[in-house]
Structure formats: structure tokens, C-alpha cells
């Protein structure tokens, strides 16, 4: 691969039809770090502000409580409310498809595709998944509101925003967690009622998936202590937490369910400062050497394949630590690393990245629609639906399924029919400048139509890997 082909494909989202090719591959990438726009105009219509999320949760809670009341009263009212609930669920499913299409459109229209890659990378690092009940309306807002604004900021700010965003608090059931010595629990002891207890999910995932990583040096007791510190973090708009204090990221802090007292995590003491206690811990976790190494390894794997060169991992970890988690510095170190500019393709494209590359090659914004979301499901990577807080696996074995290859061929041919293409031979040379094999060139040239040529280009080894 030539440096231009590497910049376009390994770092970026693929060539976009109509664009001029960058003359200085590295300079083009570095410029994108400066020019990244966290909230481009297309994002204007999306509803992801704190008050939008609050309204969403209030609406769902109201329907639930109306339903309970109606059930006690008997009669047909309950059926009516259930129909309303179904309508709401349908509306949220449609909203989800709209958010996926918007995500694709942002990537398609972006002049900073390298940074869009980083948006997707970080969203997957702090994964929430749409397959859990009531998550469909929250996964888009999580990326739009908690990831995008911090992609060229500091890791610690992104950690605060992403781990304590309402979507994460809902996904990992943090809002159900209650301190065993909280005021809420004391009242329960006096008056009876079901005990809610401590939920460790978010505490564990912050340590295992967001910061230190498996083997990063924490114990089960650290997980518990973090879970205790996190009690009180809940959603805005829940009927039982009306007194909760709204927090800037869209979450809320409800002192009534917070576990009082000092916490000790990784040997460090944290005074009980309410909502601030979790922030203080997260800030320290963000600076931990294990976090630097974990992030460096994931980032290196994302660009150089399953077993990233140790030299690259070390350099990125050092860059992370020295800059205090300053992400633009980390990206500059990445771009400046020879290992990432290796000639040979290093990695398979995920279905998401492959689909976007196709969309950009086709150059038709209208193709980022409902069908696009459905196609992703067929290809085995429905957007924002990794099914696990660990996110999509970033190793080749997850994306080299035989079935998926055939589905790509089918998707490419269908797409080719919808995109208005010119000469696909020329497109191939532009998309993969100086990097097209003789075989691929010959097979494309021998296609019986321009559309078939496009499908072959999309299915070519040069497109499937990068």
C-alpha cells in the first residue's frame, strides 16, 4: 500500500467519491485532528441533550405508573395504555434506525474521517448496546453527547462523560444500585419493603473495560469499593428519585441512596464528597499506568492488527502517560509511528467500516438510510449493538466468518445497483492509489458491467483488508 492508500483506508474511512486525493498523507491526517468538529450541522436535529433524555425517561416512567394504576382499577384502560407503550417502543425503534443513519451520514459527510474513526473507536471502548430493553433511544445520545465532544480532548473527561452518562447508568443498571448503609436502606429497615442492594456492574466494567483492563492490578474489593462510591448516580426523571440533583452529563446524583463514607481504591483514600467522590476516583483511574497500557494496546490493535508491535504499544503508552491522557497527542504519536505505515495490509475491515467505505465510494448520502441499518444487521454488525459492555471484538477472527463474506458480496451488488457510478476502473485506482493488484485490476476490467465491477471492487482483497 502507498502512504496515500494507507492514510485513506487504514487511518480513514476510505476514499469519498469526488474528493481530491491528499498530497501529503501524514499532514492530511494531522490536520484532521485540528479540524475535527464534534457537533457538525447534521447533528443539529438529533435529540441528545440532558433534557431530551430526561423527557424520554419521564415518558416511559409515566406510562409504567399509569399502567399500574389502570390495572388496579380494571377495565379497558390498561389495554389503551399498553397500546401507548407499544407505540412508544415502535417510535424508539424508528428513532434508533434514524440515529444509525445519522451516524453513517456524519461519517459519510465528514472531512475528518480519521477522527470519525476515533469516534467509533471510543464509542466501542465505552460500549452500550441497543439490545437491552429501553436502550434503543439511548445509544445514539451516548455517542453524540458523551463521546463526540471529547474525542480531541482528555481521556479523563471522556471517562467521566461516558461512564456516567444516562445510557451507561441504564445499561449497567447503576440506577438500581443502593448503598447498604444509605438513608434509603435505613428507612427500608424501619418501614419494610424490598431491599435493592449494591449493583457492581458499572464498578466492575469501569475497572475492567474502561480503565485498567483485565490484569490491570485491581481486586474484587476495589470493584466493590468503586460500586459503593458510585451509588447515588442515577437517571433524571425517575419517579422515586425526584430529589436527585441533575448533573451536567445528563445523569443525576441522589444522596438518599448513596453509600456514605470514605472509600479505598487501589490503596488510595477518597473522602465522601457525594457525586464528586466518583469523579475523584475516575480521574485517578484515568491517569493509572495500567490504563495507559490498556488504551495503548487497544489503539495499536485497532490500526495494526491482532498482535500489535510492542514498540508501538510502548510508545503510545508513554505518550498517553506523559501527556496526561491528552488524546490529540496520542493520535499524533500514532500518525508518527512507522509501524502503522507498514506496506502490507494489517487487518480486516469490520462490517461497519466496510459498509461506510462502500457508502463513501458510492458518494450518495441518500443511501445512508433505513436499508443501510438493515444491511449492517445482515452483515453481522448491527450498529451500537455489540451485545456486551465489552463492545465489538477488534480481532480478525471475529470478522473473517465465511458467511459474512458472501453477505458482503450480496450487499455490494445490491448497493452497486443503487449508486450512480461512473467508470469503476478509474474509481478503483483512486480508492487504492498505487495499491491495486494486477489480479483485482484485471478481474474488475473483465466485469460484464460497471455495477458488477463495483461489486468486485468491494469484494476485493484490497477492500476487505487494510
Amino acid at each position: 500500500m502507498t502512504p496515500t492508500a494507507i492514510a485513506l483506508n487504514r487511518f480513514g474511512l476510505g476514499y469519498r467519491r469526488g474528493d481530491a486525493l491528499p498530497r501529503d498523507a501524514r499532514g492530511w491526517l494531522l490536520g484532521q485532528i485540528e479540524n475535527y468538529d464534534p457537533a457538525p450541522p447534521a447533528l443539529g436535529d438529533a435529540k441528545y441533550a440532558a433534557e431530551d433524555i430526561r423527557a424520554l425517561i419521564e415518558q416511559a416512567s409515566d406510562i409504567q405508573s399509569d399502567l399500574r394504576d389502570a390495572q388496579e382499577m380494571g377495565g379497558d384502560k390498561a389495554d389503551e395504555i399498553r397500546a401507548m407503550r407499544q407505540d412508544l417502543a415502535k417510535e424508539q425503534r424508528q428513532g434508533f434506525v434514524g440515529d444509525v443513519a445519522l451516524r453513517a451520514r456524519l461519517a459519510l459527510e465528514s472531512d475528518t474521517p480519521f477522527m470519525e474513526r476515533m469516534v467509533h473507536f471510543w464509542a466501542n471502548h465505552f460500549a452500550v448496546s441497543s439490545d437491552k430493553d429501553r436502550m434503543k433511544a439511548l445509544v445514539g445520545p451516548h455517542e453524540f453527547g458523551a463521546i463526540r465532544p471529547h474525542v480531541t480532548g482528555n481521556f479523563s473527561d471522556m471517562l467521566r462523560a461516558a461512564a456516567l452518562h444516562p445510557a451507561m447508568l441504564a445499561y449497567l443498571d447503576q440506577f438500581r444500585s443502593q448503598g447498604p448503609n444509605s438513608d434509603a436502606e435505613r428507612r427500608r429497615e424501619r418501614r419494610g419493603g424490598p431491599s435493592r442492594g449494591l449493583n457492581e456492574n458499572l464498578g466492575r466494567e469501569i475497572l475492567e473495560l474502561h480503565t485498567l483492563g483485565v490484569g490491570g492490578g485491581y481486586t474484587q474489593e476495589d470493584v466493590k469499593e468503586l460500586a459503593r462510591a458510585l451509588t447515588g448516580w442515577t437517571l433524571q426523571g425517575l419517579p422515586y428519585a425526584k430529589a436527585a440533583v441533575p448533573q451536567p452529563g445528563g445523569g443525576a446524583f441522589f444522596a438518599f441512596i448513596h453509600e456514605p463514607g470514605e472509600r479505598v481504591i487501589l490503596g488510595q483514600r477518597y473522602a465522601d464528597t457525594g457525586a464528586e467522590q466518583a469523579f475523584a476516583i475516575l480521574d485517578d483511574l484515568a491517569q493509572h499506568p495500567s490504563t495507559a497500557r490498556f488504551i495503548a494496546t487497544k489503539l495499536a490493535r485497532h490500526f495494526t492488527g491482532d498482535t500489535p508491535p510492542q514498540t508501538l504499544v510502548d510508545r503510545l503508552a508513554e505518550s498517553f502517560t506523559e501527556s496526561g491522557g491528552h488524546l490529540p497527542t496520542l493520535y499524533r504519536t500514532l500518525v508518527g509511528s512507522e509501524e502503522v505505515w507498514a506496506d502490507e495490509p494489517l487487518k480486516f475491515r469490520t462490517p461497519w467500516d466496510w459498509s461506510l467505505a462502500m457508502l463513501r465510494a458510492g458518494g450518495e448520502p441518500r443511501l445512508a438510510d433505513r436499508k443501510f441499518a438493515i444491511m449492517l444487521r445482515e452483515l453481522g454488525q448491527e450498529a451500537w449493538t455489540p451485545g456486551s459492555p465489552a463492545g465489538w471484538d477488534d480481532r480478525d477472527a471475529s470478522w473473517t466468518g465465511a458467511n459474512a463474506l458472501l453477505r458482503k458480496v450480496e450487499a455490494a451488488e445490491r448497493f452497486a445497483g443503487a449508486a450512480r457510478l461512473e467508470d469503476v476502473r478509474e474509481l478503483a485506482e483512486t480508492m487504492l492509489p498505487g495499491s491495486l493488484s494486477q489480479t483485482t485490476r484485471a478481474i474488475i476490467a473483465g466485469a460484464e458491467s460497471n455495477e458488477m465491477g463495483f461489486a468486485l471492487l468491494m469484494a476485493s482483497p484490497e477492500m476487505l483488508r487494510r
Binding site: L405, L406, E413, S437, T439, I443
Partner: protein, 382 residues
């Protein structure tokens, strides 16, 4: 003219692929034993699947739904099968099906999400592990030589992990044109990895023969597809399939008539499709937890604890209900509301799998479901 089938034959024999030697869709389908795992997502009501109609407490709790069991297949002196499970009833009469009742995993809360995670990962706490119990089974059986396929567009947790497994789903996309398909072997002529993937794709497609199929949501198609994947000598040995739609908070009678009807159609199509290989087959149908014993205010049931599991196939020592029946009187219910769990689902699965694949039961339990106190059950499968 080239049709799909001749193209497959041609693709397998001609061109640079031949240089790679004979290939099969799966590395090597060694061993005769087959396993189909159906995950009934959403918490199936075990008391509807196999209803203890002779239990007076059940008759009180489920009075409104008793009528539908009047002519339902009798399992023994206590239980009747749901009336929509006619195919299962026939298997049961043939000695090829059993019900295990009052079973539950170690999970004792009521989140589908956490409970399915625990069931599929086999961990003793949700999200503790990233790999699945079926993937670990792949590593245990036949010295790791056990082809596994998830019939789904993406790999479910149960089959994720370090051992090889693949996915297959019939396409909802239009089929690629023959002209395009014919050119792909040449496109991958210099690329052994992609050439092998392409050939495997074509063979999976050949095994599945899914051109006449709808999506996996059509139950009989899903059953036929599972049978096609498992029945061939060079096909898969383990297949997994989701059967969703069991979260019956309201209008349960109607939802289950449809749900069990679909499950029955799936199993009927599978039984028919797999033919004589049925004798070497074990089918497990399991769910993440059960539902409340009493009917709620909306003609449904809510998240509960113990449920029932179905075990089928020629391998099963069938025609019986395996249950340490806890009873359904108020004092006998778990937390005053759910069927009390008396048998470990993990121990049932580990016992059945170790007998079916002739593996050491203790080892299967330890690898698939570490940290459990229950001992694997015996005498489930031959």
C-alpha cells in the same frame, strides 16, 4: 447455463482452489454425536410448558388457563404438555423426549440481560467471563475437533471464545448474480485466506440450501436449516439457535399458543430434516429463568425463578419428567411467588453433554460452569 448448484460443484473442483486440497465447510466433523441448543430468550413459563395439572395448588393458581389443558398430551400422573407441542408429544411417546422441571441456573435475580449472560457465559456472575459455555465444549469434545455453527447473523455469547465456531444466517439480501459469483474464485486466486473463506461460504450455502427459505424467524425453516447443518458427515456437530418471544407479561395464553406452536414447528422440521441421524442427536431447549406462579393482572406472568427445560433426540432417556417437585402452595414458592428451583440447570446441561459426548462429567461441569456446587446429573442421555 450455470445454476447455483453446478457453480458450487465447479467452484469446489476448479481453478487455484484445487491446489489447496479437498476442503470442507468445517475443519473436520469428527465423531457421530450431534447437539442442537435452542435458547428460549425472554424467560419461558415452565408451568405452561409442562403443567402440573394434578397439583391442587397449580389448579388454584392457574384456574383461568386450565381449560386449554383438558385434552393436552399427558406426560405422567402429574404433568401435561402444552397443547401446542404436538410434535414434542410424539417424541415423548417414542421415548425421545424428556422434561426437566423446577430447574434454574445459579442466577437469583430477575434481569433477562444478566440471566442470559450468565446462562451463555456459564460464569457464576453476569459479565464475569467473555467466552461461552458452548465454545468451551468445542474445546473439550473430540480433542477440539468439533465443528460448531450459530444460526444467527452474529456470534452469540454462548459460542464466542477461543475455539473455532462460525455463523450462518439465510440472507435477506438479494442473491448475488451467477456472473458475479463465478468471478470470485479468480478474484481470490492469489489470496489463500480469502479463497478458503469463499469456498467455506459456498459450502455452508450448499449445506444450508437456503434459497427456498425465509429468515430464521420462520420456525420450520429454522428447524430445517439446523437439520441440514448437522446431518451431513462433513457438516457441523454443534448448532445453536435463538427462539425468542417468551416474555409473556400480558395475554400469555395467546402468546404461548403462538410461541410453543413455533417451537413445535421448528422441532418437527428438525426431526424430519435430520432423518436417521436423530439417533445420535441431543436437542436442548433452555431458558434463562421462569415466571411467577400466579397470573398477574394482565393475563400474564412476571419474571420468576425456576422453569422447565426440554431434552430431545435419540440420545435422550426419554418419556419421563425429571423433577424434584417442590410444590406450589404459598409456603413452597420461592420468595412467595416463583416456582422453587430444586434442580441446577447447569448440572442438567453438564450431565447431558458429558453422557452424550462421552466426556468426564466432572471436567465438563468444571470447564463449562465453573464455581458451581451442584454435581452433574446422571442418566440423562445414552
Amino acid at each position: 447455463m450455470l445454476d447455483r448448484r453446478t457453480l458450487l460443484a465447479w467452484g469446489a473442483a476448479a481453478g487455484p482452489l484445487a491446489a489447496l486440497g479437498p476442503r470442507m465447510a468445517f475443519a473436520q466433523g469428527s465423531g457421530e454425536k450431534r447437539l442442537l441448543v435452542l435458547v428460549m430468550r425472554g424467560a419461558t413459563d415452565g408451568l405452561s410448558l409442562a403443567a402440573p395439572v394434578a397439583d391442587p395448588a397449580f389448579r388454584r393458581l392457574r384456574d383461568a388457563w386450565l381449560d386449554s389443558y383438558a385434552d393436552a398430551p399427558k406426560l405422567d400422573g402429574t404433568f401435561r404438555l402444552h397443547p401446542s407441542l404436538g410434535e414434542v408429544a410424539r417424541m415423548y411417546a417414542d421415548g425421545d423426549a424428556m422434561v426437566a422441571h423446577a430447574v434454574a441456573t445459579d442466577y437469583r435475580e430477575r434481569s433477562h440481560f444478566d440471566a442470559q449472560n450468565l446462562l451463555e457465559s456459564g460464569a457464576s456472575r453476569p459479565f464475569e467471563r467473555r467466552d461461552g459455555f458452548l465454545n468451551r465444549l468445542v474445546g473439550l469434545a473430540n480433542d477440539g475437533d468439533m465443528a460448531a455453527v450459530a444460526l444467527a447473523p452474529a456470534m452469540p455469547l454462548a459460542l464466542r471464545g477461543e475455539n473455532p465456531a462460525t455463523t450462518y444466517a439465510p440472507s435477506n439480501l438479494p442473491h448475488a448474480s451467477e456472473g458475479l459469483l463465478a468471478r470470485l474464485p479468480a478474484l481470490y486466486g492469489d489470496d489463500p485466506q480469502l479463497a478458503a473463506m469463499w469456498q467455506q461460504a459456498q459450502e455452508l450455502e450448499g449445506l444450508a440450501d437456503s434459497s427456498d427459505m425465509g429468515s430464521l424467524r420462520k420456525a420450520s425453516d429454522a428447524g430445517t436449516l439446523a437439520a441440514r447443518m448437522l446431518r451431513e458427515k462433513d457438516g457441523a456437530r454443534i448448532a445453536m439457535l435463538d427462539v425468542p418471544g417468551w416474555d409473556t407479561h400480558a395475554n400469555q395464553a395467546r402468546m404461548l399458543e403462538r410461541g410453543f406452536g413455533k417451537l413445535d414447528a421448528l422441532l418437527g422440521a428438525f426431526r424430519k430434516g435430520i432423518g436417521p441421524v436423530w439417533k445420535d442427536t441431543l436437542v436442548l431447549a433452555v431458558t434463562e429463568f421462569g415466571r411467577t406462579a400466579a397470573i398477574n393482572g394482565t393475563g400474564g406472568t412476571d419474571h420468576g425463578t425456576a422453569s422447565a427445560a426440554l431434552l430431545m433426540g435419540g440420545s435422550v432417556k426419554g418419556r419421563r419428567v425429571l423433577a424434584d417437585w417442590p410444590g406450589l402452595a404459598p409456603s413452597q414458592l420461592y420468595e412467595g411467588r416463583d416456582l422453587f428451583p430444586t434442580t441446577s440447570l447447569e448440572a442438567l446441561i453438564a450431565g447431558a453433554l458429558s453422557e452424550h459426548f462421552a466426556l468426564d462429567a466432572g471436567r465438563v461441569m468444571k470447564e463449562l460452569f465453573p464455581g458451581r456446587s451442584a454435581r452433574p446429573l446422571e442418566g440423562i442421555a445414552a
